[in-house]
């Protein structure tokens, strides 16, 4: 099992969710986050005061999936979230040791 964390542009969330649903991902968790990467922040000007805003708003989504779905999931996210411009985000993949569905007590791939 794999655990995928993706940082994407906020307005791409719906497209990514649709793409993942279409390929069989049955659930995901979304968080509003701030951060920076290659895309630098921007400046904000309040009357005379200019501030550099380093941290830009992004969406972090987390999914647990079976190994055989990983490549397609990465492809789906990349395609749906991509604009070709700087700041599209990143995908991180981890090994997932255990999953438990709380309601039934199922564990492993069945719990995904």
């Amino acid at each position: 099992m794999k655990f995928v964390t993706a940082i994407i542009k906020p307005f791409k969330l719906d497209e990514v969710r649709e793409a993942l649903s279409a390929m069989g991902v049955s659930g995901l968790t979304v968080t509003e986050v701030k951060g920076f990467g290659r895309q630098k922040g921007h400046t904000e000007l309040y009357r005379g005061a200019e501030y550099v805003v380093d941290f830009l708003p992004k969406i972090k989504l987390e999914i647990g999936i079976q190994d055989d779905l990983l490549d397609r999931a990465i492809e789906a996210i990349s395609k749906a979230a991509g604009t070709g411009k700087i700041g599209d985000g990143k995908i991180f993949v981890f090994d997932l040791e255990q999953v438990v569905r709380i309601r039934t007590g199922e564990s492993g791939p069945e719990a995904l």
Binding site: E44, L45, Y46, R47, G48, A49, Y51, V53
Partner: protein, 512 residues
């Protein structure tokens, strides 16, 4: 607790020491009481206004007056308008000013700003009723009035229900004095509340209150007396009477300074006190290093818009009548503000790359400030020019000038109210003349309108501006020092970092 007692004591001692000043102008004729009233029977009675005589004041009411004629009844339209105008100024203070300022601070200090503006409004209203009105608007010397209206005494006769009249700017036209008291109370309150923007996010609440009471007493009240106190138009019966009336007027009124709705008294006065405060209190922690960004420009936009709407009461209400002058002040307040909002936005767009919401509303407030002294004295063209210039000059006030001054005037009280007020006061002298489309001034002796000349009027305006800057600056500096030595001005560093909402008021504006 001790600090509270100390500040309470200071406020009380203020009240007690007040009669000392009253002895200075002892020479003032006691019999004159409120000159508005004394003058009224002389001039107005023979005029056509004498018709509704018996309506308000039955014979006994006037028995104590020198003249036997009953005072004329105020026009109901004028009275109704002034009641509405007063309410509008209350609305522009709370919530208008409070939200305009509140949106500009960080969320941890939101309630502190709202609370400061709200409490100052209440405090000054009470002080105004106790001694402020009397010291500002009764006969005294050129700088302070007297105590004839201490505790608002002498206005209401409970036996007859008669309310004294206050003069307007037309002979034989009056409004009930209570309306005038309330209208002027709102001016005093909003002026003091304006100051808090400069030292926002770091002052102790107790220090804010104590400073407000002191500065109100020694800066606002005398400025209002200097600029606005006069015996009323009815006193100007002939040349000799006019000379006597001018001699009895406030220092700057007697000089001929034009300040329709409070450019010097309200805006320059408050702005200088704020700037001095920003210097004395010191910069906020993190100023120039961390981002001290506005937490809700939405609130600021709502506040600024309430200011704009309320300002019609402030400016057009300053005509004290519902007539042509009020209408002129109204249209000027509308147009100058719109022009300023546009020019600020355009200048910001051109110079900084983007036209911001904060810029547009700041421009609107700058335009409102600049047109305040001019609104009843200039024509529509002059108002548009004053507004347009205010938008650009005040943008410089909050950028270039702010850097030069180097003070952390947190919400740009000086950049907008100071610079806008000075610009408006001086330009009133330029655009008042007929050749610039202005109104000229009224010659109450001959009952005609006369022209002013730009050069001499601008010089008079400059003297008024200079007086306001020096008087307010010196008084404010002493008041801040006094508060600093007694209860301390500033919250400890830790409390400043945590925010004034929880540390000073024990509550938060927003919960997640």
């Amino acid at each position: 607790m001790n600090k509270w007692l100390a500040s309470l004591g200071l406020i009380l001692s203020l009240g007690l020491s007040a009669p000392v000043w009253a002895e200075e102008p002892a020479a003032a004729p006691v019999a004159e009481v409120t000159t508005e009233q004394a003058a009224a029977p002389v001039e107005a009675a023979p005029a056509e206004v004498a018709t509704p005589v018996a309506e308000v004041a039955p014979a006994e009411a006037v028995a104590e007056e020198a003249a036997p004629a009953a005072p004329p009844a105020p026009n109901k339209g004028d009275t109704a308008w002034m009641l509405v105008a007063t309410i509008m100024v209350i609305m522009m203070s709370i919530p208008g000013l409070a939200l305009f300022y509140g949106g500009l601070v960080r969320s941890k200090n939101m309630l502190s700003i709202l609370m400061q503006v709200f409490s100052i409004f209440a405090l000054i209203t009470v002080l105004w009723a106790i001694y402020g009105y009397s010291l500002a608007f009764t006969q005294g010397n050129a700088f302070f009035g007297g105590f004839d209206r201490f505790m608002l005494s002498g206005i209401f006769d409970p036996k007859t229900g008669a309310v004294a009249n206050a003069a307007t700017f037309s002979k034989g036209v009056y409004i009930p004095e209570f309306v005038f008291v309330a209208f002027q109370a709102t001016f005093a309150a909003i002026t003091v509340a304006l100051v808090v923007g400069a030292f926002a996010e770091r002052m102790k609440f107790s220090a804010v209150l104590l400073f407000s009471a002191l500065w109100f007493t020694f800066a606002y009240v005398p400025m209002a007396h200097m600029v606005w106190f006069w015996p009323g138009p009815d006193a100007f019966t002939d040349v000799a009477a006019a000379e006597a009336a001018v001699a009895a007027s406030g220092f700057l009124f007697a000089k001929g300074a034009l300040d329709f709705a409070g450019g010097t008294v309200v805006h320059i006065n408050a702005a200088v006190a704020g700037l001095v405060g920003a210097f004395v209190v010191g910069k906020r922690i993190g100023y120039g290093k961390e981002a001290l960004t506005p937490h809700s420009l939405t609130m600021t936009m709502i506040g600024a818009s309430l200011l704009w709407v309320g300002w019609f009461g402030f400016n057009a209400g300053s005509a004290l009548e519902a007539g042509g002058t009020a209408a002129l002040a109204f249209i000027n307040t509308l147009n100058a503000t719109a022009a300023a909002a546009l020019t600020w936005s355009l200048a910001e767009w051109a110079l900084k790359g983007k036209p911001s919401m904060l810029g547009a509303v700041s421009g609107a407030v700058a335009g409102l400030v600049a047109i305040t002294p001019a609104c009843g004295w200039v024509g529509p063209g002059g108002a548009l020019v004053i507004g347009a210039l205010a938008g650009v000059v005040c943008l410089w006030g909050v950028t270039g000038l702010k850097k030069m001054l180097g003070a952390d005037d947190a919400l740009d009280v000086f950049g907008i109210h100071g610079i806008g007020g000075i610009l408006g006061a001086l330009l009133t002298g330029v655009f008042n003349t007929w050749s610039m489309g202005g109104t000229g001034i009224i010659d109450y002796v001959n009952n005609t309108i006369v022209d002013t000349s730009i050069g001499s009027q601008v010089w008079i305006q400059a003297q008024a501006v200079g007086t306001a800057i020096i008087w307010s600056g010196v008084v404010a500096f002493i008041c801040y020092k006094l508060v600093d030595l007694t209860i301390g001005l500033r919250v400890p560093e830790e409390e400043e970092r945590e925010g004034l909402d929880t540390t000073q008021h024990g509550e938060r504006a927003y919960t997640v």
